[in-house]
């Protein structure tokens, strides 16, 4: 998803998105409830195996999992002293496995596949919810993240170029104004591409 998708043809990539989502949720529930270190350890080994099978680039995988390690560096000793090292190890293992699995899902599933899965999930409610529209909404939200990030970067650069160091307002106002312009243009493009209802 977003910029994180890493293309591939492994069975992890090809597995149906809904199946992946269900297994991801199930696995997280199971390791969340299990008080046994062996279960969590087994799950961790399984996740490592899946990463290898999916041939996700090592660097991309590390970038996904590193932030949680930073949290654990602080949280693990605290939990260890307060409630025992077994609980601390369980907590760390659960977090790591959950984050790694979610990252694997993100890196092996395209946005289109997630949208289609959403639409399938929403189908029973189609009398109340237009699944197509929800899908488009999610897609546009994802697409707008880099768009707004670019706007913020350009506004910061313009500020630096002029040598001014103003308040938060001096960034916020041009960012909001330019985002609205971009939204207008995006709307026009959607209309031109046939989404005019």
């Amino acid at each position: 998803m977003i910029g994180l998708y890493s293309p591939g043809t492994s069975f992890v990539h090809r597995a149906p998105t809904l199946l992946k989502l269900v297994l991801l949720s199930l696995c997280i529930v199971v390791i969340g409830l299990s008080p046994d270190l062996r279960v969590v350890g087994g799950a961790a080994a399984g996740v490592v195996l899946l990463f290898v099978v999916a041939r996700v680039p090592l660097r991309a995988a590390t970038a996904q999992i590193a932030p949680i390690l930073l949290i654990l560096v602080v949280a693990l000793p605290i939990q260890g002293f307060l409630s025992g090292w077994l609980v601390a190890a369980l907590m760390a293992g659960r977090l790591l496995v959950a984050v790694a699995l979610a990252a694997l899902f993100t890196m092996t599933t395209t946005v289109t596949a997630v949208l289609l899965a959403f639409q399938t999930l929403l189908r029973p409610f189609r009398r109340f919810i237009d699944a197509d529209r929800v899908g488009l909404l999610v897609a546009l939200t994802i697409r707008c993240i880099p768009l707004v990030a670019d706007i913020v970067r350009e506004v910061m650069e313009a500020r630096t170029a002029r040598g001014t160091r103003g308040s938060l307002m001096s960034i916020a106002v041009p960012v909001v104004v330019r985002s609205l312009y971009a939204a207008d243009a995006l709307g026009e493009a959607l209309v031109a591409r046939g989404l005019d209802d």
Partner: protein, 226 residues
């Protein structure tokens, strides 16, 4: 070629008049529209697929009144914007092209096939799964073209498609516009782009200042901007 007809078209935003009584019939294969910033040329071409509805007068495409039957007209007329960033709606290259083919009653296999063919044609096949926002400016404009042409419109309207591009990419897009079988209407400041078009129209202060063969129209425009 489609017949695009402007009849007594005027447009004003508040008390600012942008176009004044424009009458044009466009039937040629390649038509260039040039004029100063703010002359009204972008507004004029936006009327062709109903992005702007004229304050008075009518625009028709093959006899279809754009104001009333915009949806049908938009299936015949593809539009390329200046800034491809605003035209890309989906996160990856392939998904953005496939997005055009939604709701057209095509099977997923047909969509995949046509998307792949379009990416191949525009040299983007190697980037199919890449995030669209990481492409270079030239590649983004190629993607915008691919996403429009995959729907096989009869007419392409391009509003300054090369303004944001470097010289090489501008030439590449220009060459593509020259080889398309579709009717092409291009608004541009890159005058050499339209030098061998079939017809060039000069818009000045909301009116048609010159209309005809490129050499003559470009000469008029050069005089105007002196």
């Amino acid at each position: 070629m489609s017949t695009i007809h402007f009849e007594a078209v005027s447009q004003s935003f508040g008390d600012r008049t942008v176009l004044r009584d424009v009458n044009l019939t466009l039937t040629e294969h390649r038509i260039g529209i040039i004029g100063a910033n703010g002359s009204g040329k972008s507004t004029l071409v936006r009327m062709i697929n109903g992005l702007v509805t004229p304050t008075s007068g009518t625009v028709t495409v093959d006899g279809l009144n754009v104001a009333r039957r915009a949806r049908e007209v938009r299936r015949r007329v593809g539009f390329i914007f200046t800034n491809p960033d605003n035209q890309i709606v989906m996160p990856t290259v392939q998904e953005d092209v496939a997005f055009t083919l939604r709701r057209r009653g095509l099977s997923p296999a047909e969509i995949a096939e046509r998307t792949a063919a379009a990416l191949e044609q525009f040299g983007l096949a190697a980037h199919a799964d890449h995030p669209a926002h990481r492409l270079s400016g030239g590649q983004k404009q190629l993607l915008a073209l691919a996403a429009v042409l995959v729907a096989e419109p009869a007419t392409i309207v391009a509003d300054e498609p090369t303004t944001l591009l470097d010289a090489r990419n501008a030439r590449r897009i220009g060459e593509l516009l020259h080889t398309l079988p579709q009717q092409v209407i291009v608004v541009t400041h890159h005058l050499h782009l339209v030098e061998d078009f079939d017809r060039v129209i000069v818009i000045e202060a909301g009116e048609v200042a010159a209309d005809g063969a490129p050499a003559q129209a470009l000469a008029t425009y050069r005089d105007l901007v002196q």
